[in-house]
């Protein structure tokens, strides 16, 4: 009896602190948030595992190794938010965002605020090209630049979240080493969550390992399945067709731009397609409840 009363008191306290999403137990039903308090991921399986989508007003995270589908999932979130008429923002720590690919995936670029960080490639310079080497900084300088870029991006993220009005804010730190993120004060993520608490903004961190989810947020951990590549089809028996654009521009004649690689330039392989997508396993953690589902990007 005493334990039940203590549990009830604890649950009441958690609800007061808006931490009741962390409650678990045999007798508790699966938490399903109100539809207007979640942001759909665009994948019904994942939405179901998340209880409707990523919670608004919370910091969630999408974690996984390279080529596990983190960016594709974030892009689907951006498409979902901007397609619904909301504003979205992406704080791109290392300037990796691909606008053309995002537009192709349905992201409305007019509603997207892109904050470009500094383009830093890992910690060390590359020494493959002598002509290119001097323009690259040394290892220490690169490490310093990386830390500065992360700090600056965190400040930018804080500004965007504090401004409010965005339906989704993505912090793309997918290429930032975990040790760099761990060097940040632990209050950083708490401060970010406080900035959006109670608002309609869903903040999503793209990271290699879970690091900063708020208590009411969700962690989506993606893991590659083997084979990682699906549906890579070879452009067999191809040959280059003479391009119309090779002709010099003559006034009065329609100007033909060089065709992008693909069906316009390759013949004999109508099924020639690029790399199509990934099929990762998603491990979803809301509170301390963990579920799994399969995702497919195609």
């Amino acid at each position: 009896m005493a334990s039940a009363a203590a549990r009830a008191a604890l649950e009441s306290l958690l609800r007061t602190r808006k931490l009741d999403t962390t409650l678990v137990g045999q007798d508790l039903p699966a938490i399903r948030l109100s539809p207007d308090r979640v942001l759909s991921t665009g994948a019904p399986a994942l939405d179901s595992a998340l209880g409707g989508g990523l919670p608004r007003g919370q910091v969630s995270e999408i974690a996984g190794p390279a080529s596990s589908g983190r960016t594709a999932l974030a892009r689907a979130l951006l498409a979902s938010a901007t397609g619904g008429g909301e504003l979205a923002a992406i704080v791109d720590v290392f300037d990796r965002f691909d606008p053309a690919g995002a537009a192709g995936a349905g992201v409305c670029l007019d509603r997207l605020l892109w904050v470009r960080g500094e383009s830093v490639w890992q910690d060390t310079p590359l020494a493959l090209d002598p002509a290119w080497e001097p323009s690259r900084p040394g290892p220490r300088a690169a490490r310093s630049r990386m830390g500065q870029a992360v700090n600056r991006a965190i400040k930018a993220l804080s500004l965007v979240l504090s401004a409010g009005g965005f339906g989704l804010v993505v912090f793309d730190a997918a290429d930032v080493p975990v040790r760099v993120l761990r060097q940040l004060p632990f209050t950083t993520w708490l401060r970010l969550q406080r900035a959006i608490e109670g608002s309609d903004t869903a903040c999503v961190l793209l990271v290699r390992e879970p690091i900063g989810r708020s208590p009411g947020g969700a962690s989506v951990r993606l893991g590659s399945r083997t084979p990682a590549i699906r549906a890579v089809e070879q452009p067999a028996d191809f040959h280059v067709r003479v391009q119309a654009s090779r002709h010099p521009f003559v006034p009065g004649r329609p100007r033909v731009k060089p065709g992008r690689a693909g069906a316009a330039q390759w013949t004999g392989s109508p099924q020639a397609r690029r790399f199509r997508g990934l099929a990762p396993l998603a491990s979803v953690q809301c509170g301390i409840r963990t579920t799994s589902c399969e995702l497919e990007f195609s």
Binding site: A74, G84, G85, R96, P99, A102, G165, V240
Partner: protein, 487 residues
Amino acid sequence: MFACIWMTGWRDEVAAPQHALLEVAQRFSPRAAWIGRDTLVLDVAGLRRLFGEPCELGAELRRALADAGLETRIALAGTRTAARLLVRARAGLTITEAGDEAAALAALPITLLQHVLVPPQEAGQLPLDGTAAAPSPPSRFYRSSPVQEIVRPRRRSSGARSAAERAAAEWLATFRRWGLRTLGDLAALPPAELAARFGDAGPALQRLARGEDPEPLVPMAGDERFEETLPLDWPIEGLEPLSFVLARLFDPLCAQLDRRGRAAAVLHVELQLVTRECWARRLELPAPVNDPRTLRTLALLDLESSPPPAAIDAVTVRVDPTPARTLQFSLLERARPAPEQVATLTARLIALMGERRVGRPVLLDTHRPDAWRLEPFTGEDGHPAAPASEPSSGRPSGAALRRLRPPVPARVVVDAGRPAAVQVSGSDPIGGAVEQAAGPWRASGDWWAPGEAWDRDEWDVALDGGTVCRLVRDRRQDRWYLDGLYD
């Protein structure tokens, strides 16, 4: 609702009362037009929330004019014509509710029409007995309808004015012969009969007698220069003291903008330095702004990124005005941040991240890879939201490419024309044997532009470590690069 103000104590040799009257009037509404040299018509529609009922507005207007030392008559009516007629007929403050103009004018003498028929410069001296004026041929009258005469009185030549005088005198003399004494008598005549006798002018005169306006008010274009300057007693250095100076400048400037119904489209900040140089900054605002705090923040953030090289002697702020925005919020969409908030946010981000690092991506019409430009993010777009309940296939579309800018040189082992192994150096090196590869996809372009030509083969490769990446071979340099990682 219009207010007509007639300066009854105005004298030709004194010009200052006009400025005083205009200044007082523009405290109430920016939409004003002079009717002659002593009469001003003011559009006071929409002021009910600020001043209350028309009687309260009229009393406030009368009190402000009296405080300015002006002896005036004021009439408020739903139409400009009714207000003009009433102000000539009744002293003090006259208020007529919208829709009651015809009834209010019905008892007024018909001779008041001369004030709206004749150009204001000559008003008041018409021979009304019907004997002195020699009318022009009717065809000339009808070619120049009274409506046109009323709308553009100042642009007419003296010949046109005298023609208008003659026409008005003839019409009024005719009405007198008919036994019409009041505007109500004229308004009650059958329009068809009037048109048969006066042509188009007949119904137009009747509409004037009912107090109907021939055309909407065309407010005069005021002085649209919005500028404030503050010379400093002592040179200041640093942005913190400058913020107080800017606050003193932007508060009156924004109040002036607000009175005119304007907002700032472009902000100019000019700092006179102790070195006698002028440090000028120009900010194009993404949306019209007339909030002093926002303008001050934007100016400070801009000066933070481009600080003046010396101490400041004088500060001048100037804005290019544009009509202020009217926002209509929707109940069906989520609230978006106000443009002032977005402008402040982007300015802060630019100050933090640098120029060309913040904005809205816009794709370029080219086949060059990674071709885009950044435009200012306004938070507004004309696209409707997509249907919320669009059925999903359950598959987020496409694999996303994470681009490396610039592409990172890579060492690629080629076997039988296909990548067999890849090595990219770094603290977290990427490389390994190629398990699967697709390509090449050849693309080229801009060969017609010197120095901008590009020619490349793209490969999508899956490495044995699980990484999927895009390799690019620059065919012009015969070098391999890592263009991006699929994720």
